[in-house]
Point group: C2
Chain length 365, copies 2
Amino acid sequence: MKYEQRLKKLQRLLKEKKCDALYVDDAVNLFYLTGIQLSAGVLLAHAKGAFLLVDGRYIEMCKKLSPFPVILTNQFMKSLAELISNECKFISRLAFNSENTSYKSYLLLEKCLAEISSKLELVALDNPVKQLRSIKDKNEIALLRDAAALGSKGFDYACQCLKEGITEVEVASELEIFWKRLGSKGLAFDPIIAFGSNSSMPHYRAGDAKLKKGDTVLIDIGVNFEHYNSDMTRVVYFKKADPKILEIHEIVEKAQAKALALCRPGVLIGDIDRAAREFIQKKGFGEYFNHGLGHGVGLEIHEWPVIKNIDPWKEIPLEEGMVITIEPGIYLPNHGGVRIENTVVITKEGYEDFTKRNTKPVVIN
Amino acid sequence: MKYEQRLKKLQRLLKEKKCDALYVDDAVNLFYLTGIQLSAGVLLAHAKGAFLLVDGRYIEMCKKLSPFPVILTNQFMKSLAELISNECKFISRLAFNSENTSYKSYLLLEKCLAEISSKLELVALDNPVKQLRSIKDKNEIALLRDAAALGSKGFDYACQCLKEGITEVEVASELEIFWKRLGSKGLAFDPIIAFGSNSSMPHYRAGDAKLKKGDTVLIDIGVNFEHYNSDMTRVVYFKKADPKILEIHEIVEKAQAKALALCRPGVLIGDIDRAAREFIQKKGFGEYFNHGLGHGVGLEIHEWPVIKNIDPWKEIPLEEGMVITIEPGIYLPNHGGVRIENTVVITKEGYEDFTKRNTKPVVIN
């Protein structure tokens, strides 16, 4: 049922774009549309149904699990062309996802289709399945809530691990094991555990730095639970807080609150980003907030929408069912940084916060 | 030094292709060429050096770690075009990796370059960095040997976990934790732990099946250690072996030995695949060996070369420094399957086997 509904939504979207079918070849979109994890495969989603093309490694599994008819092939493009020329003659505009399809695959697709018909048109779309995925259904929201709860438990655990001399990597490993024991599928991303001045690098990864008194500790972590990801960031202080960092902590916290206060259906993404960014600018730290305000979260850690006051996102309104992060930050080079990140789902009236943890500065003793 | 040497090799390769520079935008090739893990970034590798373009999230980290000059940008393609028109005027043929570059990025690249010069030519190459990566250097071979040793220890541990009633997923989780405690970076891929008839699906994943007496147990596992991957497969039998499976076990074992016996520099990949495949065919199981014989292993779990008797691989000779798997298999649908997989490095005289574990059928009690 779930996959038929998703296919129906996709069919409506394709119709709007005046396309008769979509070629899908990337793992995440294949999983979303079929529920099967494939390292290789092609789904032809068309106006009347769908076909799943897989090779010998997956055929038995797909025959058992696929919601759509399965075709065995070692030459995806050739089989696809045959399928179109035999069973799907009504296809005249075939869409593909230009964001994921490689240039090489595009050329091959073009060549195979040209061999069967000169009238068949290839249409580059900007990841239509990702567009569908930006609005989560009830079941997805429940899984994302569960993932976030597991993520928050992991944050508590990481704080417990903070002892003099422990390294960033050791905290990250302990956290991963903790999550695994509680049933995680894996990490949403390599944990960012940054001690002291390492916290000024937004996309730092855990390294060999040892924890010492007075260190700022930035913890940006996410877990994958039942294929859905969590994402949260907090900054805590080991035994003693740095007054300069505490100052930016308070600004970041207020900037986040300003953005969150706007989160509800219909509000433009550009306005949400601006609310946080302008506040930080007014406080004199604008140049030290050097990334977007947030992003969608789901099967992938970075999904649509992008919460940033740029084209095309700024004119897009939030919708019920979007799950997004709100994560302003201020980074003082070679000194330290603060980012505070919550994951929320947009509801009819506003939002539900999945990250049930204090945003205030906490000193760990 | 390491990255300068890699750049030099790349420059030679580009010269052969009559290209002046290469546009690199995928994470693995960026890591190979710079040593930095980036979720976004562009390297312009040219005949005289290289530039690394990153956004605000990575700028401080890259200034510390990059072997090449770093440029801060929020618009990669635009900055790239500016760079070419100012500091790299000598570039007239710019290559890109058609296997990883998306159609969308290709269009954007084309547009930005057309704005600066009508003479600048874009050249689609088939992942030239991956071609370099297929020959491992001494340091990479040492890391792959270490990864394989950790992988083999994990196999021993997984066998110890096999108790009546344990599920496939439980074994996989315990194994992941075991590896993590020994310093793994993560999994090379989701463990394939398949009990009973699940072993007949080559790309099965661990599920909820419970182990019972008489089960065939297929264990295909890999660990990531210091960015390099291991890969091995063994089949063991829980308390009692199935005679039909034992029969194919012996055939697969001999097929693997026949392929391994050919592994040395200069032997054509097609001949290696044929040695195993024809043996299995002669024994009457040809239709049940439905995948390639093996693949390169390195920073990615599937690298070049592909060990399969197909174009273009069949005419390519093995070279010293290639690290590959040899993994024939026979799968009896709805009954069970056997795959035996070793990872080896091609040496001057032959090969060194990284997978130091018995290939014989073992009954676990």
